[in-house]
């Protein structure tokens, strides 16, 4: 069911401009209520938003619900996007991640997650979930591979699984302070590796 999707353009010299429409400019149009611009924004971001939310929540139905909320939030709050304070991708994905972890950390979701720990039939789209946009995925994998294993584990558990750092510390059996610094060091090394400005 799930197939690799294209991802939005980033201000990254290594990538072509694809659709050619700058996401930050589109968000400015969305802020003025431009529906056509919102459609384009949807097409650029629905894949990463759904992918990230799904990665954190796992459950397809819940993920769809949260992803819809996130994309509507983009419509609703587009006027608050400030290009000076970061890229459009960063703004949208910050909203998506926050919404996903809020859902994970709410009690009902915690129960649902525990229930999912019981083994069930492996759905075909669990495999497809792993099929990610080749370029981004390759770069991320390469950069994650350059971290120490503790850094990589900490970042992955915190970001992709939505755990708090005390939860990560507990899972890995490592002191709190260590995880705190490993998450930061890991992200800083990723930043430098991916040449994020």
């Amino acid at each position: 069911m799930d197939t690799p999707a294209t991802t939005p353009d980033l201000p990254d010299p290594g990538r072509s401009e694809g659709g050619g429409q700058d996401p930050a400019g589109l968000l400015a149009l969305v802020a003025r209520g431009d529906h056509a611009a919102f459609e384009t924004v949807y097409d650029q971001f629905a894949g990463p938003v759904y992918g990230l939310v799904r990665k954190v929540l796992r459950d397809p139905a819940q993920s769809e619900e949260v992803a819809q909320e996130v994309l509507l939030e983009v419509w609703r709050t587009a006027s608050r996007f400030d290009p000076v304070r970061g890229s459009a991708s960063s703004w949208v994905m910050t909203i998506a991640h926050r919404r996903a972890v809020d859902r994970v950390r709410s009690e009902s979701a915690a129960t649902a997650r525990e229930q999912r720990l019981t083994p069930g039939p492996v759905a075909g789209d669990d495999v497809a979930e792993l099929v990610e946009t080749a370029l981004d995925r390759q770069r991320v994998r390469r950069c994650l591979g350059a971290l120490t294993s503790l850094q990589a584990e900490s970042v992955k558990l915190a970001y992709y699984a939505g755990y708090t750092y005390p939860q990560v510390a507990k899972l890995l059996g490592v002191p709190l302070g260590t995880i705190k610094t490993r998450i930061r060091d890991g992200l800083i090394r990723l930043r430098d590796c991916m040449e994020v400005t």
């Binding site: 980033l10 926050r98 946009t133 005390p166 930061r184 060091d185």
Partner: protein
């Protein structure tokens, strides 16, 4: 209270939503007065966005129609106006203890109301609530003491200090305007001579500073304000325009 250098280590956890709620609130309070932390968070969020883009998968097809249909029925937020936390209320506070509590509570309530009504995105709301809660809690502290001093270049600086909470809220009246290249910076100076930045003052054209919160204030410390190059400095580089002792 977590030391400032330790708070700085939380940039990573904050950028990827990995802080427990209480630490998140504390870090957001710190973020408002730590430009280097804010810059680091910005960069790390860009990094996290790359991690997110790598997870892209095609969403269920019915989602598109649903979202696009819901948008026209969803009211959009207007652009954010800058929240003006006027310090007028503070300036008018009587310096006697009588009547002080009422005024402080009213001001605290007004601050919270202002923030809640003016901020709309959750993120900014959290940040504002965290900071207004701290300001309000100093103002409402049973041991809160108000001190006022004239600044060297003109104007008055007023501080509300709660030693129990080890915090001070600082504001000003009629501080001289500075050129765009300069800012007023607030410091907590210990008796041993060390100075710790408590952030930059946001001063209106009338010389009124938005209430600024200084943490880790102990008896014998002094609150100081210096004029620094815009963006602030790690240590004071000029003679303070005002030094206010914090007495026990």
């Amino acid at each position: 209270m977590v030391a400032s250098h330790e708070l700085h280590l939380l940039t990573g956890g904050y950028a990827i939503d990995a802080l427990p709620d209480d630490e998140r609130a504390e870090f957001e309070k710190h973020l408002g007065r730590c430009p280097s932390c804010a810059e680091e968070v910005r960069g790390l969020r860009e990094t996290a966005a790359r991690l997110a883009l790598a997870t892209a998968i095609t969403p269920p097809p019915q989602m598109r129609a649903r979202v696009l249909a819901a948008a026209p029925r969803t009211r959009q937020l207007p652009p954010a106006g800058r929240v003006q936390l006027t310090a007028r209320g503070l300036r008018r506070l009587p310096l006697s203890r009588t009547g002080l509590t009422g005024g402080i509570l009213a001001l605290a309530a007004a601050l919270v109301f202002l923030l809640v009504t003016n901020f709309a995105t959750t993120q900014r709301l959290h940040q504002a609530q965290a900071s207004s809660r701290s300001v309000a809690s100093v103002l409402a502290a049973p041991d809160a003491r108000v001190e006022s001093l004239a600044a060297a270049g003109g104007g008055t600086v007023t501080a509300v200090v709660s030693l129990r909470q080890q915090e001070a809220v600082v504001t000003s009246a009629a501080l001289p305007a500075l050129p765009a290249s300069q800012v007023y910076q607030l410091w907590v100076m210990t008796s041993a001579g060390a100075a710790r930045s408590a952030g930059l003052l946001t001063v209106s054209s009338s010389g009124t500073a938005e209430p600024a919160l200084a943490g880790g204030v102990a008896p014998g410390d002094r609150l100081g304000i210096t004029v620094e190059p815009s963006g602030g400095t790690a240590q004071p580089t000029t003679t303070p325009v005002m030094v206010m002792p914090v007495s026990a």
